[in-house]
Symmetry: C2
Subunit: 280 residues, 2 copies
């Protein structure tokens, strides 16, 4: 394991803005709303995509986007990531030949949990090769701790709403330990930024738990799988493709997580119930 880190700018934006609204009684109120900025990614000067982002972790978002879209496969290929909010853009410099970037951006498969998104390359075939570890377990008290942690976490969501959060915990024997907590106006951005941070910190997914406030759609399950994380939790629900992909890659997915309540949709074999399961 090397300790390579690309050169990164440090251009996190202020995350909320105060605005004035009028309520149903005609009264003026001051409230906060989440920031949202376009960020156009240039990979070796080639324009790739414009993301709408909260802007709290633009360098990690860029890294994770390039990683999850398979536009860059080795972090040591990246020299630098330079965010410039004057132009709402981020310049990524690589060491690879220009031809290989062009090749990777050519084949485009578009999917998204929100119904319309972009993914490059053929990740669907990757999934067949994916093996999530079978010998990891998550106990019911630890599930409750994850839910409780998220409930207590200070967040943009509590101040301003309209954002999604993703968090990654280490699945330690003595309880879950928070590693990353990222919010963004798009849940895909939040998960991409976490993927970028994991890439930077060279953390693999086997011993991790992934929590998201958003629905477990096909794309969330795919990204969780690509990160190698066996546990995916949400307080929201699951779509049919999300469930179907989770079955395919044998991921443990849990939804409607709230207080002491949760539903296991797939992979209950990795859950250590307080009351032994009656379902064998």
């Amino acid at each position: 394991m090397n300790s390579y880190r690309p050169q990164l700018s440090n251009e996190a934006l202020p995350l909320t803005h105060q605005i004035t609204v009028i309520d149903e009684k005609g009264r003026v109120q001051e409230i906060e709303i989440p920031g949202e900025r376009p960020l156009t990614i240039y990979l070796d000067k080639k324009e790739i995509v414009t993301l709408m982002t909260l802007g709290g972790a633009p360098e990690a978002l860029t890294l994770g986007y390039l990683r999850n879209q398979r536009l860059v496969t080795d972090i040591t290929d990246i020299q630098s990531i330079q965010v410039d909010w004057e132009t709402d853009s981020v310049a990524v410099k690589t060491n690879v030949s220009p031809g290989s970037v062009a090749q990777r951006t050519e084949k485009k498969t578009v999917t998204s949990g929100c119904g319309q998104g972009t993914m490059f390359g053929d990740f669907m075939s990757e999934l067949d090769a994916l093996k999530l570890p079978d010998d990891v377990y998550l106990s019911q008290p630890h599930i409750e701790q994850v839910i409780e942690f998220i409930r207590n976490q200070p967040s943009i969501y509590k101040r301003a709403g309209s954002v999604h959060a993703c968090a990654v915990f280490k699945n330690n024997e003595n309880g879950p330990e928070l590693v990353y907590f990222i919010e963004d106006v798009g849940r895909h951005n939040a998960v991409d930024a976490i993927s970028g941070l994991m890439w930077l910190d060279q953390i693999s997914g086997e011993q991790l738990i992934f929590y998201t406030t958003g629905r477990l759609t096909s794309e969330m399950v795919i990204k969780g799988g690509q990160m190698g994380i066996p546990f995916l939790l949400t307080r929201s629900g699951v779509t049919q493709m999300g469930l179907s992909l989770a079955k395919q890659i044998k991921m443990t997915i849990m939804a409607r997580c709230s207080g002491e309540h949760f539903l296991v949709y797939e992979g209950a074999n990795r859950i250590q119930f307080r009351t032994p399961s009656q379902t064998t």
Copy 2:
């Protein structure tokens, strides 16, 4: 106004599926989840995009997607739309020359309210030319009726969660009248399907009210503006770009709509408050 309609298949899918989950007591429960299928759009045999959709209105979704992405600008250019769930695809035949399709799909601007999406063409410049009517008004009792209608509407959301709904009402003098109600796993799909239905039925937006369960992000405001609808309501929140675009095109946007409560973020001049506004 002509009454042209392209030939359309009628391939709506069953919308929910019953599945088995395990709750926190280890008990088996039967619940419903929303369906979700990929649908790949082929425009004159050219692959355009794969949308993940509930599948309740695939022909209208296809029409609205092509319209909102400016891939087809006149509905009479479309001969037929044929959905085939055997291959998860929809074939769109047009009367236009193949070259013009290729040209339109070449320039790609990517934006999305969920943070990552696709839009073709230069809609941002279109917005400058957009004029929403100034002489339309929405009264407080009628706002409450819209909110109440959505609350009482039987929906996939109530049965299975994990979907977004969009609705369009006529802003009649004697009260709002529902025109369309569409749910999808992606709120962009729901709004695109409504746009497709409006195109088919040749309804313009000036006298309409648009309601969505999702956040008012940049893309929702853009799409509402493109449809020419002056009122955009949500039970959720507003992002900064959504607000900024609404200011630019002078759209009335209202969020946190629930029961008798709502907040007006922009365009309060079109609201007729029960209690006269103290804000002039």
